[in-house]
């Protein structure tokens, strides 16, 4: 199992926005998450992406129990990348957006360039490499966001 979740809750004030007794996600599978508005889909995804600390509960990722210290979470975030439904791109070029994750991972410049061009090809956005990210359409923005995530070679998207 890639993710094993037990008794996971997230509470904001008096409002319980997430309450999952058990959830298992297998390696190498594509999963869909369905639920009405406000049922906690985004909260669950943000928790599984290690962006959000749960109020209670246990998460086991790749047979490792997740401790929610910032240092440990930063390490785990380099394996799990979240692409939002309405992603936001940094105020710079599409190329530099894709480069961000590689730069923080200290990937050498030459290798960085090769990876960026590869993933831009993959999402058919190579011609937009120098385009201003904020001038892209909704669909183009989503494709750059996917390329940005793919460039990091995460284990989970």
């Amino acid at each position: 199992m890639l993710f094993e979740v037990k008794n996971l809750t997230k509470i904001y004030g008096n409002r319980k926005v997430l309450d999952i007794s058990e959830l298992c996600l297998e390696k190498g599978k594509v999963c869909g998450l369905l639920g009405p508005n406000g049922s906690g889909k985004t909260t669950l995804l943000e928790t599984l992406s290690f962006l959000l600390r749960p109020t209670t509960g246990e998460i086991v990722y790749d047979s490792r129990k997740v401790g929610f210290s910032e240092t440990l979470l930063q390490e785990l975030r380099r394996e799990v990348v979240m692409v939002e439904q309405q992603p936001i791109l940094f105020t710079t070029s599409a190329y530099k957006n894709v480069e961000f994750g590689l730069k923080v991972r200290k990937v050498p410049k030459k290798r960085r360039k090769r990876i960026i061009l590869e993933v831009l090809d993959l999402v058919a956005m190579r011609d937009f490499a120098d385009a201003s990210a904020h001038k892209l359409s909704g669909g183009e923005t989503q494709r750059i966001a996917i390329a940005r995530a793919l460039a990091c070679s995460p284990r989970v998207i």
Partner: protein
């Protein structure tokens, strides 16, 4: 209205001749105002960033106090700093009164709340998705902070420019703590007040024109930066 026109003509002649007294006053003003803006920015930007970025008990009251300090009158600051740096004050032995340093201290107190509150406003306006995007792409807390800073740069630059505008145009602190000593602590605004008292308007009008020109140049620079860096 004739005196205004005559003063304006004399002011232009003064500017054209690069009058030594005029140049000294302008240089003192620029030196003092730049120093206080730099120091206030070094304090106010990180403080504003920390307040906007972190959740802590008393955050709202801190912001309310900072907003209240925006209305602090320059004479009140002058009086407050005077109490500390006058001969009888605890910093009296440092001989700061009637020096450029004294003006800088007062002006820093005046504009730290401006830089801080503008920075808080600039950071708070940044969409939270920038933070989440940076974090999910593996950025550390510091790298995430740099991303947010970059996205808020125009707001922060506006804070710096507004603060510089505030100090270069203030008169209370410069007069009370600087003492308007010719060649040392005479700034554009204190010189204008003095010339007005003397009924000599030429230098006052010349200084007024320079003040407006500096403000105009700063805004031109700000607009240029906005246009150049907005990709």
């Amino acid at each position: 209205m004739d005196f205004l026109f005559d003063s304006f003509v004399s002011a232009i002649l003064l500017l054209k001749s690069l009058d030594a007294e005029l140049c000294t006053i302008v240089l003192v003003s620029l030196k003092v105002s730049s120093s206080s803006t730099l120091i206030a920015s070094l304090i106010g930007i990180p403080a504003g960033f920390a307040i906007a970025f972190r959740e802590f008990p008393g955050k709202r009251i801190t912001i309310t106090i900072l907003n209240t300090l925006l209305a602090l009158p320059t004479v009140a600051i002058g009086l407050f700093v005077y109490a500390f740096i006058s001969r009888r004050g605890i910093f009296g032995p440092l001989d700061l009164l009637y020096t450029q340093k004294a003006i800088v201290i007062g002006q820093v107190i005046l504009i730290v709340p401006i830089v801080t509150t503008f920075t808080i406003a600039a950071i708070s306006r940044i969409d939270d998705r920038y933070r989440k995007s940076a974090m999910t792409l593996g950025a550390t807390t510091l790298q995430t902070a740099v991303v947010i800073f970059r996205e808020a740069r125009f707001g922060i630059l506006a804070a710096i420019i507004a603060s510089f505008g505030r100090v270069i145009a203030e008169v209370g602190i410069s007069m009370m703590l600087g003492g308007n000593a010719k060649g040392f602590t005479r700034t554009m605004t204190t010189a204008m007040a003095l010339e007005y008292d003397k009924g000599e308007f030429a230098l006052a009008v010349a200084l007024g024109l320079i003040l407006l020109s500096i403000s105009f140049a700063l805004n031109l620079f700000f607009n240029y930066l906005q246009g150049r860096t907005r990709v």
